[in-house]
């Protein structure tokens, strides 16, 4: 009798717990729970956000933040999950996120309204804008000096469009070399194939930092755009997005973000700009 009672009790307990989880998990969270892994899209040369270390493993500021999100996802699905990294670049990130190949992109992606037609974003984790990277010997001081010169642009970036539009509007007659990613852009500058490479200013500093001859290069000109970075997640998946937003808000609230920031940006000598500090504070939503 007692046995039956305890069985009955266990069954009741299962009934009480099971549906709660089974019903709540939908969309991306359900896929993650079913497969036991989360697929994260990373970059190969977005220093210091998302790039390959000496062992060719993805590391960086965005990766660290994403791993915090992964912790929150584990709690949400109620089990341990593995992380699988898939390399993406500025051209492949949106198609691969919208077709489900990656479930979150942790790189250096600008949150803008055009992209929000295809994907959703977590809270802003960095603020930057388009500038030019040039070799000091070339004498280029601003984008207007590109008249008749050659500039490398990463295909699929916001910077590509901003610079192209500027060149067309001012009729600068600048030749454009489309490149696959930031490493290839830097490479074409280092090998003197182009006079400038343009992308977000923080990435340009990252590229200089990784260069063998950092003293030869300089970041010049005014900001040509406003680029707030955020992690990309699939569109129309409010549950998954909320898990991510909660995790990142918690980082902002607890101040843990400053530790992560210091880990990646202090070595580069880039203190957090006032804009970014305000962004951290305003996005530190209460539970």
């Amino acid at each position: 009798m007692q046995k039956i009672a305890s069985l009955f009790g266990a069954a009741l307990l299962t009934l009480a717990v099971m549906p709660a989880q089974a019903q709540e998990l939908t969309g991306t969270l359900k896929k993650i729970a079913d497969s036991g892994e989360i697929v994260i899209g990373h970059r190969e040369s977005s220093v210091p956000f998302s790039y390959l270390d000496e062992k060719q493993q993805p590391v960086g500021y965005s990766i660290d933040i994403c791993l915090k999100v992964v912790e929150a996802v584990k709690a949400a699905v109620g089990k341990d999950i593995k992380v699988r990294f898939v390399p993406v670049n500025s051209q492949t990130r949106i198609p691969l996120l919208s077709n489900g190949t990656v479930q979150m992109e942790c790189g250096s992606t600008t949150n803008n309204l055009t992209r929000q037609q295809q994907v959703s974003f977590l809270p802003t984790t960095f603020i930057t804008g388009t500038k030019l990277l040039v070799s000091k010997a070339g004498g280029i001081k601003s984008i207007d000096d590109l008249k008749g010169k050659t500039v490398a642009l990463s295909q699929g970036t916001t910077n590509e469009r901003v610079v192209k539009a500027y060149i067309e509007a001012k009729k600068l007659d600048t030749k454009i070399l489309p490149v696959k990613d930031h490493a290839e852009g830097m490479l074409s500058l280092e090998t003197d194939r182009v006079d400038a490479y343009s992308t977000d200013h923080i990435l340009l500093f990252g590229l200089i930092g990784k260069s063998k001859t950092p003293e030869k290069f300089a970041v010049v000109g005014d900001f040509l755009s406003f680029d707030p970075y955020a992690m990309m997640v699939p569109r129309n998946d409010a549950d998954f997005q909320l898990v991510g937003t909660k995790a990142i808000s918690a980082l902002f609230r607890s101040g843990e973000i400053e530790t992560i920031y210091a880990k990646w940006f202090d070595p580069m000598g880039v203190p957090a700009e006032p804009d970014l500090k305000v962004a951290f504070r305003t996005q530190a939503l209460p539970e």
């Binding site: 051209q91 949106i94 198609p95 919208s98 037609q117 295809q118 050659t150 295909q155 699929g156 070399l177 489309p178 490149v179 696959k180 490479l187 090998t191 003197d192 194939r193």
Partner: protein, 240 residues
């Protein structure tokens, strides 16, 4: 499937212009590379059959070298590595002063690669000619040059037209590799349109249709050439 079809984007500016320009580059790279491949490949193919051993060896080395390294690696060698080995001036010329470096390098890489394959077809064509014909030529007092000029080449080129067709088709497909060195040919433009409009299906369908159209035109053209150049009594014309 949750997808918002918009075939209209293909006919909007600037996307239509991008497609046309991509198509233009694909055709331009392929045709220019074919000229190199056909001329150089024919010469190398002939050299593989001549009596002189050192010459044959040289031609064989060319074929083996260019045939056994993937085209993508060859393209990267020409584009990324070569300018760094050359003296600074020449390197700079390749990277900058050349009009359209990506185009020129793509043409050279694709041309030299395909030449090794064309050479093999030409050699096979010449070797398929019965030795009796060669001996007859020699017996009637033809020099080696005359033998090639009047007997071997006219016959072998007609024999190899079908396999040339397939090499000619391949060059159009292989031209897509030029996107890896930044040439905005047809496949690259399809990607760029996807980037700007998020209408991937339409853009890639358009590119696929254009490639198929190229293949149809090429096949048709080569069929005409083949039927006009047929030699009565030879394989391929005898059966019917």
């Amino acid at each position: 499937m949750n997808y918002n079809w918009k075939w209209g984007v293909l006919f909007e500016e600037p996307y239509l212009g991008w497609l046309i320009s991509g198509f233009g580059w694909t055709v331009a790279v392929s045709l220019c590379a074919w000229v190199i491949a056909f001329l150089l490949g024919s010469v190398i193919g002939v050299l593989r059959t001549v009596p002189s051993k050192p010459v044959r060896l040289f031609a064989t080395a060319y074929v083996e070298l260019f045939r056994n390294i993937p085209l993508l690696v060859q393209m990267f060698l020409w584009y990324f590595a070569l300018p760094e080995i050359l003296p600074a001036d020449a390197g700079r010329f390749l990277k900058r002063d050349l009009p359209n470096p990506e185009f020129v390098i793509a043409v050279i890489a694709l041309g030299l690669y395909t030449a090794s394959r064309v050479a093999e077809q030409v050699r096979a064509g010449i070797e398929s000619i019965s030795p009796g014909l060669t001996n007859a030529g020699k017996a009637s007092g033809l020099s080696t040059a005359q033998l090639y000029r009047h007997v071997l080449l006219p016959i072998s080129f007609r024999i190899v037209i079908p396999s040339m067709t397939s090499e000619f088709l391949t060059i159009f497909k292989n031209s897509s590799l030029a996107l890896t060195i930044g040439l905005l040919e047809l496949t690259a433009q399809a990607r760029q349109i996807t980037d700007f409009t998020f209408q991937g299906f339409e853009a890639f369908a358009a590119a696929t249709v254009l490639y198929v159209a190229i293949a149809l035109v090429v096949t048709l053209l080569m069929t005409v050439i083949e039927s006009r150049s047929r030699i009565p009594g030879y394989i391929g014309s005898g059966g019917k």
